[in-house]
């Protein structure tokens, strides 16, 4: 049995959630939907654990879908870089589903509740598919599966706040433009090379630095994926989508969807185009680096002025993408290690923070900062979880946030750009400002009259504290994460022969 699973691991990884999703439609009971989704996501997580284990022992796994050999057939190709991303998606999905039930019951209209779990499973399948595939067009298909389910999940927030609908439409339009740009870019590459397999593309376009079609393809793909990543000036869909989506959806999206897009961007920048591509080196130095720095500062400053804590964290997510982009723009093995590990670490911290907010939303029906007065006393465990997550977001030592920033600072010194290290520290100080605003209200404002101690249910506290504990555990024992992240960086940079 285990041999069978290991042999077909890449296919099962995508197919298990994909098959599980329509089953819920056949029997639309909320309790069944939740239990079924729970079983599926934990199975998927177990599979992703096996996948990571396999990748440690061999360089990469290749799976021919339908028995058609690549480059003609669709190839699923797993190395350390996508195994890491798949593990993030599957792990967060498992914890989010465990957490989801009470929150979804409170925030989503009754008859839509089973549909939420269908969409969640489809989204998991799509995100894992984007990460796992070695075929540029197949990536587009999975990108659409995950995006379409995401738009719908954001719109489910419409019961609480009708602005969710406009947020979802805006996300749909921007996301579709992104996907279209991506597919135009892939089309141009296909025109030049006649292949869609990423490894084959890398071989074919090597040395085509001055081919204007390849340059146009590069521009389309980078902008298209940039919209999905929410690189600083292309991030406008993100704050509203995160703010008005149901809490559970925000947790899942913040922790996974932009991460997968960052992975896809790195895959194209470093494996397909490769850093020998002069046009790319210029773009990294003169486009990505300034945008990364602006992204680290401007959204952080905006976050510091928000009144809705959910929105505050959404802007902070845009700022964190700035750090990932900084690692990408330096384009060294060390900086890509920092970006890869930050994918993982940021998923841990943002999921923990949004889970705490979801619990607040369940009890107080609001995430406006003034309404949070005194929750340190009425919801002590939730608030403590938020505070620890916040420390991790700032980058305090012994948390994962510190590990990311430390590696990023080391990478900027190694790239002879020590001034970047200074900017990283200064931008972290802005994070202190916005995290402190929440902590201050929560712990030092008096409890409003008539509000009694009302902690979130255990089904929500346990996943939240698992993540908080992971924030601290992986901040102290960095052996596994750094090893996987540096393998990922090598796989990204050395993937092209």
């Amino acid at each position: 049995m285990l041999d069978f699973v290991t042999e077909h691991l890449p296919a099962l990884q995508v197919v298990v959630p994909l098959i599980a999703a329509p089953v819920i439609l056949l029997y639309q009971k909320e309790a069944f939907a939740w239990g079924w989704a729970l079983l599926t996501t934990w199975t998927t997580f177990a599979l992703s654990g096996l996948l990571v284990h396999e990748v440690f022992s061999q360089e990469f796994i290749s799976y021919d879908l339908g028995g058609w050999a690549p480059p003609l057939g669709i190839e699923y190709r797993v190395d350390a870089a996508n195994a890491l991303v798949i593990a993030i998606v599957a792990g967060i999905a498992a914890l989010v589903t465990t957490y989801a039930r009470k929150s979804i019951q409170a925030e989503v209209q009754g008859r839509n509740q089973p549909f939420f779990y269908v969409l969640l499973l489809l989204c998991v399948s799509g995100l894992i598919g984007v990460a796992i595939t070695g075929d540029a067009f197949n990536l587009f298909v999975f990108l659409e599966i995950s995006s379409l389910s995401t738009y719908t999940m954001v719109a489910l927030g419409g019961r609480r706040d009708r602005r969710a609908y406009t947020a979802a439409i805006r996300y749909l339009i921007t996301g579709t433009i992104g996907a279209t740009f991506y597919v135009i870019g892939v089309g141009l590459l296909y025109m030049v090379t006649g292949t869609l397999n990423m490894a084959d593309l890398a071989v074919s376009i090597a040395g085509m630095d001055n081919n204007t079609t390849v340059q146009a393809a590069f521009a389309f793909i980078v902008i298209g994926l940039g919209l999905k990543v929410a690189i600083f000036p292309l991030h406008l869909w993100l704050p509203n989508a995160y703010t008005y989506a149901p809490s559970v959806v925000t947790i899942f999206l913040a922790a996974t969807s932009t991460k997968v897009a960052v992975y896809a961007l790195m895959r194209f920048l470093f494996t397909v185009f490769g850093i020998r591509f002069d046009f790319e080196l210029d773009s990294l130095a003169f486009l990505f680096l300034p945008l990364a720095i602006m992204g680290m500062f401007i959204p952080s400053i905006v976050a510091a002025f928000q009144v809705d804590v959910k929105r505050l964290l959404a802007y902070s997510s845009v700022a964190q993408i700035g750090y990932m982009l900084l690692g990408i723009s330096l384009a060294t093995s060390a900086s890509l290690t920092a970006t890869s590990i930050h994918l993982f670490n940021h998923a841990l911290m943002k999921a923990a923070l949004f889970m705490a907010l979801g619990a607040v939303m369940l009890r107080l029906k609001s995430t406006i900062i003034d309404d949070l007065a005194g929750i340190g006393k009425t919801m002590p465990w939730t608030t403590a979880g938020f505070a620890l997550g916040g420390l991790s977001l700032i980058g305090v030592p012994l948390t994962v946030g510190f590990v990311s920033k430390w590696l990023l600072i080391q990478a900027s010194f190694a790239s002879q750009q020590p001034w970047l290290a200074g900017l990283i520290v200064v931008s972290s100080l802005i994070a202190v400002v916005y995290v402190w605003r929440v902590v201050e209200v929560a712990y030092f404002s008096p409890v409003p009259e008539g509000r009694v101690r009302q902690e979130a249910p255990l089904s929500m506290l346990i996943p939240m504290w698992v993540l908080v504990a992971a924030n601290i555990y992986f901040g102290i024992d960095t052996d596994i994460t750094i090893r996987l992240a540096s393998l990922a960086a090598e796989a990204l940079l050395g993937g092209a022969p």
């Binding site: 077909h8 098959i19 439609l25 799976y63 028995g67």
Partner: protein
């Protein structure tokens, strides 16, 4: 639409032909142009035309939304299920060759694609119908003061 006699008569004549043509495109897709996607759209167009002329309720009697929704899930499961069968028989996901021993005539490929395309056809047709039901049956319950 009771007074549109011509429309009603023509629709009654056309709908069965459209449905039949949909099935033709579905099952002849292996040999000629066509396949599950096109067939599904054509088949759904027949039902939608019926609904446009005779009213939403009449269409819902022919194709009840509850069943349509289950069929939508079934189509996906049929497609993915073929992959699971090939896995169970010991080949890669969706490798149809294993479905039949006659490799020379690619009979396995033939069976596989037939089943998969049927799944695509069912899902596409039902999704089109549900989209029509969804938009046509929409009541404008958002009042001005709700905004």
């Amino acid at each position: 639409m009771n007074h549109h006699l011509v429309l009603r008569v023509v629709t009654k004549i056309l709908v069965p032909v459209i449905l039949l043509f949909g099935l033709y495109v579905q099952f002849h897709g292996d040999y000629g142009p066509g396949g599950g996607f096109q067939a599904g759209v054509i088949f759904a167009a027949g039902i939608i035309l019926y609904g446009l002329v005779f009213g939403l309720d009449a269409a819902k009697q022919v194709a009840p939304p509850l069943i349509v929704q289950r069929l939508m899930a079934f189509g996906v499961l049929l497609y993915a299920g073929v992959g699971v069968v090939t896995l169970a028989l010991g080949e890669n996901y969706l490798d149809y060759d294993i479905l039949h021993p006659d490799l020379e005539h690619h009979t396995g490929q033939h069976y596989g694609i037939l089943a998969v395309e049927l799944g695509v056809g069912i899902t596409v047709a039902t999704v089109m119908m549900l989209l029509f039901y969804g938009f046509a049956g929409r009541n404008f319950d958002i009042k001005d003061e709700d905004w």
